[in-house]
């Protein structure tokens, strides 16, 4: 009797569930092999579980991107971190084959080296976008195809939609978790093959699924840091790869007068206010008070950090390179009116994109924007449809007119 009761409860739970994930692949679900990129976090774990529940032949793959033991600088630590172990346990739980691929050299080449170079140039890079662009959607995608998979799924909070003329990239339903900023570089060809099972879920719903399925990672906190810098001290990584970037230098004001010293340009990013080690300047507007100082420029060649008032940060002209355009038609010659995000956490602002030939372009912002850092991404959204991502590019120069 007790056993019967148990089964009934289980069945009920089963039917309460919302409809199953549909990846929109031809043929019966079980005929389609799909690869799910599993990081060991709750999102990609639930993505894998939901796709498996829908009856697809799921293959879980976790990428070993860097030597965990050496990243935490502990002798004798395993090369694989706890995340790989978690991914393996999840795969075991949901009954799918799981593999770990050694992408250390690919990751070092495509992501870490560039991360260090960019910092050494005084920029503020976003390695997560480079990682999606290269090791995930180029290298892993190729492996998935070689394995005969019909699609590659990830646990990103973005949506993919079939538009009139092209496959569209859209924001995730959950405004707080939307990851479209980090996926702007996904090309149309890649989008054809990719699927994002969590795009229509909120983070809360994802955690509920994780609990319902009984995944060990259900309560695992979201990752905050850059994955290969577990303690958040990216200066350590940069100093290891590019020792020049940590040489001490001078902090100067807008007139070039030296007002302090710093221990390496790597510790500064444009727009930064805290951690300068110097106070504000006497306010002109309000005698007796001080205006806070911001980093307005980082000059690695002279090992100088330039500081100034907030007003010196205003920018409305941005040069962008490596543009990935996801619009239905090519970028208009008279300029595309767009909504633009210059930081992942920012509310989109309005501006116009002009093509400058090849994958280069120029953005004219409608209003001045403060604290725009070179090396970050400018991500484009549609003015008519705020959820639609139209691509983006990397900022190489900023100015004001």
């Amino acid at each position: 009797m007790a056993a019967l009761l148990k089964i009934e409860i289980k069945c009920e739970k089963f039917f309460v569930m919302e409809e199953k994930i549909d990846l929109g692949l031809p043929g019966a679900n079980w005929e389609n092999r799909v690869v799910v990129a599993m990081s060991g976090g709750v999102d990609s774990s639930v993505a894998a579980a939901l796709v498996a529940e829908a009856g697809y032949e799921v293959v879980g793959i976790t990428l070993q991107l860097y030597d965990h033991g050496s990243a935490i600088q502990r002798k004798g630590a395993c090369c694989a971190g706890a995340d790989i172990h978690d991914a393996r346990l999840v795969a075991e739980k949901i009954g799918i084959p799981h593999y770990v691929l050694d992408y250390e050299s690919k990751f070092k080449e495509s992501v870490m080296e560039e991360f260090a170079d960019s910092y050494a140039r005084g920029e503020t890079p976003i390695p997560c976008i480079r990682c999606n662009q290269t090791v995930k959607f180029r290298d892993l995608l190729q492996t998935a195809k070689q394995l005969g998979a019909k699609a590659l799924c990830t646990g990103h909070y973005v949506q993919r939609a079939i538009g009139r003329s092209t496959v569209e990239l859209r924001k995730g339903i959950d405004q707080k978790k939307d990851q479209s900023y980090f996926l702007f570089a996904t090309t149309s060809d890649q989008l054809e093959y990719l699927r994002f099972p969590l795009g229509g879920l909120t983070k809360d719903e994802t955690r509920q699924h994780a609990n319902r399925i009984g995944l060990n990672v259900a309560d695992k906190p979201d990752s905050q840091d850059i994955c290969f810098v577990p303690n958040g001290k990216y200066a350590d990584i940069v100093s290891r790869l590019r020792p020049d970037a940590i040489e001490p230098g001078e902090i100067v004001d807008m007139d070039g007068s030296v007002i302090g010293k710093h221990d390496g340009v790597v510790n500064f990013t444009v727009g930064q206010r805290k951690g300068l080690g110097i106070g504000g300047r006497s306010s002109l507007a309000e005698p007796g008070a001080t205006d806070p100082l911001y980093v307005v420029d980082v000059n690695p060649a002279e090992r100088r950090v330039v500081v100034g008032p907030r007003s010196a940060l205003g920018r409305n002209l941005l040069k962008v390179s490596e543009i990935n355009w996801l619009g239905d038609k090519p970028i208009s010659g008279s300029g595309e009116k767009l909504m633009i995000k210059l930081r992942s956490t920012q509310q989109p602002i309005s501006g116009t994109l002009f093509s400058e030939g090849g994958d280069n372009g120029k953005i004219v912002l409608d209003e001045l924007e403060f604290g725009v850092a070179i090396g970050q991404a400018a991500v484009f959204y549609s003015q008519e449809d705020a959820t639609r991502v139209l691509g983006g590019g990397w900022m190489t120069e900023t100015s004001s007119y």
Binding site: A28, W30, E31, R33, G55, Y56, E57, V59, Q64, C78, C79, A80, I84, R88, G95, P97, Y99, V100, L101, D102, T143, Q146, L147, G148
Partner: protein
């Protein structure tokens, strides 16, 4: 799950990683597990346990042409290698560049002896290293390579060693059960073997040591194994090892079958895909091993693709995390990158059948065609 029906026959061709437990070993283990008794105890149960160990020691020494006094049980091949390399206290150690990680890890500072592009030890290079080596000198060379199966010129190594008055350690973990071994006739000073490669259990191996060789123990304590390896003996493991060794010594027919299966596989693939390549095909190799290059698909992906079809093979040496490292063996052979990256190891064993090999050939060709 409906897609599981797509997987037909499960085929295990990864015997060089580990071999399935032989029924004889399994029953020996189960029998021992039912009895209490520490082999060092004075009472009758202790004596029975001691008898189990000595019976196994005699089965193993018979199998490899050694005296019972030569056999020191260890926790496996890795520990046997470490005991030999560290316990012999030599001032200079020369190892081949294709040794197993157990050897490479034990003496990372050791001088590496080169190998040819066919994976064969470069005897001339060994000679030049010996001329410069400090004394006492230890040479450590594996009998047969785990990835390519290439059989190393152990006799020539031994002869050079006598000339230069050096000790010789041979890692025979892959050779055991696949090549005839006679320890006493070989003139080798130390020999590492492991149970699970011949159908015994994991966690048990032995170092075979020339009787008059002085060796400092790594594991110290109660003085078991004549002081060379302390710690209460792994009774069940030892029983299983002995039973597997005895079963292995009666399997000549199986050996003939295995080489036939391997050759059939290699011929079938090369005939259909002439751009495929068998590494070191012309060298003397273990009868069961085939390192095979597939054009256009890296080894890592091949291993996954085979597994998804229910076929167990391996690539390079797998780390405990499961990630596949680039093969240091193929690298030491100075092969082009494409060959290093796209070669997997297939290793047959006594349970394989003609149908297994036909399925393997079918899947190999399917994976090749799908990816090219």
């Amino acid at each position: 799950m409906k897609f599981l029906e797509k997987n037909k026959r499960v085929v295990y061709v990864d015997y060089n990683a580990t071999a399935p437990l032989r029924p004889e070993a399994k029953s020996a283990i189960i029998e021992v597990l039912g009895n209490p008794g520490n082999p060092s105890s004075v009472h009758s149960m202790g004596r029975q346990a001691k008898n189990v160990i000595e019976r196994s020691r005699s089965q193993i020494s018979e199998f490899i042409g050694a005296g019972q006094e030569n056999v020191v049980f260890t926790s496996g091949g890795t520990e046997a290698d470490i005991l030999a390399l560290k316990g012999s206290n030599c001032s200079s150690i020369l190892i081949s560049s294709i040794e197993h990680d157990a050897v490479l890890g034990a003496v990372p500072e050791a001088n590496r002896i080169k190998v040819s592009e066919n994976g064969l030890l470069d005897i001339e290079h060994l000679k030049s290293l010996l001329k410069e080596a400090l004394k006492p000198t230890l040479i450590s060379v594996m009998w047969a390579n785990n990835e390519t199966g290439v059989i190393q010129p152990i006799e020539a190594v031994r002869n050079l060693a006598s000339e230069f008055d050096a000790l010789v350690h041979v890692d025979a973990v892959q050779a055991l059960g696949k090549l005839p071994i006679n320890f006493l006739n070989s003139g080798i000073d130390m020999l590492s073997i492991s149970a699970h490669k011949i159908g015994g259990p994991t966690g048990i191996g032995a170092l075979i040591i020339r009787e008059d060789l002085s060796l400092e123990p790594i594991m110290v304590g109660g003085g078991q194994e004549r002081g060379k390896r302390s710690g209460t003996e792994n009774l069940a493991g030892i029983a299983g090892f002995g039973a597997a060794a005895e079963a292995c010594s009666r399997q000549e027919d199986a050996d003939k079958k295995i080489v036939h299966l391997r050759n059939h596989f290699e011929k079938a693939i090369i005939t259909k895909v002439p751009s495929a390549k068998i590494i070191a095909q012309k060298e003397k190799r273990l009868d069961n091993t085939s390192a095979i290059f597939m054009p256009g698909l890296n080894a890592e992906t091949q291993v996954m693709a085979f597994d998804l079809e229910g076929i167990a093979v391996s690539a390079g040496a797998a780390c405990s995390s499961g990630k596949v490292k680039q093969s240091h063996v193929l690298k030491a052979m100075n092969l082009p990158d494409e060959l290093i990256n796209n070669t997997i190891r297939i290793s047959f064993g006594w349970q394989n059948s003609e149908e297994d090999v036909n399925r393997l050939i079918e899947v190999w060709l399917k994976i090749y065609q799908d990816s090219n």
